[in-house]
Amino acid sequence: MSTRQPVSADGAGASEAERPGPVDAVGVRHPWRWVAIAVIAVLAAMFVHLLVTNDAFDWAFTLEAMNQNLVIRGFLVGTLLTTVAAMLIGVAGGVLLAVLRLSDNPVLAGVSWVFTWFFRAVPRYVLLTFVGALGALFATGLSIGVPFDFLLTQWFGTPELRLLTFDQQWVYGVFGGLAGGIIGLGLSEAAYMAEIARAGILSVDKGQAEAAGALGMTKQQTMRRVVLPQAMRVIVPPTGNEVIAMLKDTSLLVAIPVNIELFFQLGVIRSRTYEVVATNVAAILYYLAATSVLMVGQYFLERRFGRGFGTRTTARRPAVVPGAGGGGAA
């Protein structure tokens, strides 16, 4: 708006009344929000009504099922422990595979590619069924020693050179139980984590490795101290997804078969009592609880590895106002 009074550059010529005051404007209305709220309120009410009035939800029985010793043990061992152990194998293996894949050595890069190709191609249920039956492959047992020593024996009559021999029962015992399940899920996870870790490593600016190299750091030191910590910022969020997916995939342990597992144990109760809804709700509640805890953990991990990025990070020590301490060098 123009004013007829002359206004000098510093505004001193304008009287107080003509200078615009605070913006006291009416906000934009959002009528559709209210419509959405109404619709959702009705749907929520219907859902609560269903939970409370439908007799198929036998809440007392659900709680009782959740409280069974075998179910609790199944949750702790078959679900939680397996998730943690398989993810440890998966993350360590995935980072290793990613480093191999990005190495200058074409053989190692090839090995990493083949591993990823195989374990991503095989469905976890199929893989676990196969791992559980691995004993069938080792009818004569599994031994550690000189490779192809039996051929040498055949050709040259040298004695067989074996340090350690496990019989078939041992192989069945290990791979046909919890250990087999953890190894199977862990290797499968490593294949997925390899791609996540590779994306993370590639996301780090090339100048970082150059700067570390120029300081005389070896490739290993550069990877461990400079590249991986920064890659973690990109790696952690999708890894959170992977942990949650793994938590749910532990229900596939039945393929091994492992019976100290949450859903298997609830299945036992289900087939004994025909309480289909209550046992499934019990399982859902367990998975919901575990996932919620994991999400909290992920939040803290993301904060840890986000150090130094974004504007919300604060200095370790009380910092002076930026720009105040400029050129002391001059």
């Binding site: 974004g310 050129g327 001059a330």
Partner: protein, 260 residues
């Protein structure tokens, strides 16, 4: 030994695919000297600088730092490329400052400076921290030790990067356009630190567009264009009274940009 030049480059050449970026560069840098490389972008000066600490391998010629061949070894009458570990060992003696600072963003300023002495030289942490604080003070950033790079201005980041390179006690400092990524008002603080280093007798090779800095600080100015050295000499000659047309054109353009 001390009478010998610290850096001797002879007939250094380098190609990226079919593009020849360096066509036989010769350079000698005496101990305590400051040599400035000037030239238009694409002239090969940055590539040459990166060859000195093996961030690029050179295809022809030889580079020696303090008598040692860089990145190569003569054994049994043949040249052998050095494995990564030996190259890392050679790089410890050569500090480098980058155009884009390349500070480690997940570490504070202090941690950036402490990192290499601790990891590479295995210096005790307390000692490395004490030296790092002294170095940060020297570049005027004692009060910024706890800040992450993202919380520092470009000029401050570059000064931390200089302190980080100095922490390895290098024989030679390489500067790759250290002020080109800075806002104009921040250039001065970085150049001031570099002038101090030069005054303290640090051997420096500086790729720069700061003609005034080169004129004031350099012992020798080398003007490169198209992968060759066009002209070299004392700053008063090369900048004050250039003999070659290409040098004159370049300097005239730099001055015009500076005034604009």
């Amino acid at each position: 030994m001390s009478g010998q030049p610290l850096v001797v480059a002879r007939n250094v050449s380098k190609s990226f695919g079919h593009v020849e970026v360096l066509k036989g560069i010769d350079l000698e840098v005496q101990r305590g000297q400051v040599v400035c490389l000037l030239g238009p972008s694409g002239s090969g000066k940055t590539t040459f600088l990166r060859c000195i600490n093996q961030l690029e391998t050179y295809d022809g010629g030889r580079i020696r730092v303090d008598g040692d061949l860089v990145g190569l070894e003569e054994r049994g009458g043949r040249l052998h490329r050095l494995p990564d570990k030996r190259i890392a060992a050679q790089r410890r003696e050569i500090g480098m400052v980058f155009q884009r600072f390349n500070l480690f963003p997940h570490m504070t300023a202090l941690e950036n400076v402490v990192e290499a002495p601790c990891q590479v030289l295995r210096e005790p942490r307390a000692q490395a921290v004490a030296r790092a604080r002294a170095l940060l003070e020297r570049v005027g950033l004692a009060d910024r030790a706890g800040n992450y790079p993202a919380q520092l201005s470009g000029g401050q980041q570059q000064r931390v990067a200089i302190a980080r390179a100095l922490a390895m006690r290098p024989k030679l400092m390489l500067f790759d356009e250290p002020t080109s990524a800075l806002d104009p008002e921040l250039v001065g603080e970085v150049l001031a630190v570099m002038k101090e280093l030069a005054a303290d007798g640090t051997t420096m090779i500086v790729v720069t567009h700061e003609v005034a800095f080169a004129r004031e600080v350099a012992d020798e100015v080398v003007f490169m264009d198209g992968g060759v050295v066009v002209e070299r000499g004392a700053p008063a000659e090369v900048i004050g009274a250039p003999k070659h047309e290409r040098t004159r054109t370049f300097l005239a353009r730099m001055r015009a940009e500076h005034r604009a």
